[in-house]
Amino acid sequence: MDVVFTEFPWGVMLILLPLVGGMICLLWPRRGRTLGLVTVFAVALSVVGVAWQMLDTGIYRHAVGGWGAPLGIDLYADGLSLLMLAASALVGLGVSVYSAAYFGREDGTRFWPLWLFLLAALNALFLSGDIFNVYVTFELMGLAAVALVALAGGQNALGGAMRYLLAALLGSLAYLLGIALLYHGFGTVDIALLADRVDASPVAWAALGLMGAGLLLKTAVFPLHFWLPPAHASAPAPVSALLSALVVKASFYILLRLWLEVFEPLVGSDAVSTLLGLLGAMAVLWGSVQALRQSRLKLLIAYSTVAQIGYLFLAFPLAAAAGATAWYAALYLALSHALAKAAMFLAAGNLLHFGGHDRIAGLDRVVQRLPLTAAAFALAGVSIMGLPPSGGFIGKWLMLEAALGQERWDLVAVMIAGGLLAAAYIFKVLGYAFTQADVTHESRAVPVSMEWAALLLALGAVLLGFLAVPVLSLVGIGEPFGVSGVGP
């Protein structure tokens, strides 16, 4: 029995299942909701299967077509990939349960196939060991995500979707030119082989610049973040959750992969990592300040995403000396953010559904009338602020530890400032949620499943605060950061 489990192609299922599910949803639209939920559940099970397998046999590598790199495409998964896959599965489950109640019949037939194909793209990206294959998955992801944003209709959503599409395409094209240079410079597009072959030549530097710029644009790092707030704020709530939690992390994951493996000979120099750290710091400060200034809840949450992404980039300057701790911190932050931000957007969706608007000042005694939703938002806020116990706390703690260890007081200051600002905008929302608004609005009942989906995701973010050791040991499978060893 155990042999069956470890022999079963869980990794391959992660890609094929959502593809098949999406196509069946297209053929039988009436069954979309059921099919979607079943598929996402099956995907989540497959992630467990992959984890089981990897605990047993280490790195997962699959040569598609039997050819193997450099001629063929390799699927590759280590602890880092596993973590991202798990995040996708968890957030995906929560969002799917939410969407089952959120979308009506008409919108539902459009949502489910697009979402399943988006999930397929995410999984295919996290499992890919080939940079051109990643380009194709980026395109699949981008088109599906844009179509999902546009589902909301109306000028804001359409404008946001258009900005998103243009930015995504520009980012992909820059990335593709980088692929062209790498292939013609080093003769392969396989990540593992490139890691061996790349040296510090002009070609590699140009490729780093192009791919870095493209991926920074896709990850919405300051100052290339302009497309994110309109897109994430005007999309339907479950779509916003998916975008902020998962899609934006996909390009970060690729940037990290390239940094760690392909461009390793180049990043010994401090210039690039200092630049990334600087951009991250500005993102934290700028994003947090802008979040504080918003009067609409979804825009506040979107700017919070911009800020939280900045934290991830603080790891780059720290990693040179602190090694794995800084990366573990970034990963833990990414994972916690995925759960917490998804919960926040879903909670905002509930509030929108309930009151018909998302003006912060108009949040009318939400704590009384939608206690589950208010709890979800509050718990998610705990993680975003970095208060214990939560995943966000662990991540920030590790990052602070790395910064203090290197006496990077500037980064410490940024993190503390960011934490304070985050507390400010979270409590701003909660403050209004406790009090009565000047004008009460007609309210609509919120389905229980929607409230519970938000709450469970938020609980997940908090729960991560207790699971640091097992999670980090999973991440260490295959030693993606070159150095093994769990954090504190």
Binding site: V136, G159, L165, L177, Q294
Partner: protein, 102 residues
């Protein structure tokens, strides 16, 4: 200078020209045109440099990548154009709306 280098440089030129065009124009159709030309420029770089094989036939892998890229480009263009039309129907103009004020 060989054929490969010549066309690769043309590809770089196209990339830069369309980068300029993408940023500078505000009409969405022009932005979409710029993105298409940019894609073509990158494809030129890919295929041109694949011809550095001397007497042998050119390297087939970049050719396959470019064919994939062309299909992806037409898919993205179709979606972008439809989005543009929908936006124009809402706002009356084929331009990105100013960021929504609160």
């Amino acid at each position: 200078m060989s054929t490969s280098l010549l066309y690769a440089l043309v590809g770089i030129g196209l990339f830069s020209l369309s980068l300029y065009g993408l940023i500078v124009h505000s009409h969405l159709l022009r932005k979409i045109l710029a993105l298409n030309i940019m894609g073509s420029g990158i494809f030129l770089v890919l295929v041109a440099l694949a011809g550095r094989t001397g007497e042998a036939p050119p390297d087939a892998v970049p050719h396959a990548m470019v064919i994939t890229g062309i299909v992806v480009a037409v898919s993205a263009t179709a979606l972008a154009l439809t989005l543009m039309l929908k936006l124009a129907a809402e706002t009356g103009r084929a331009e990105l709306p100013d960021e929504g004020r609160e």
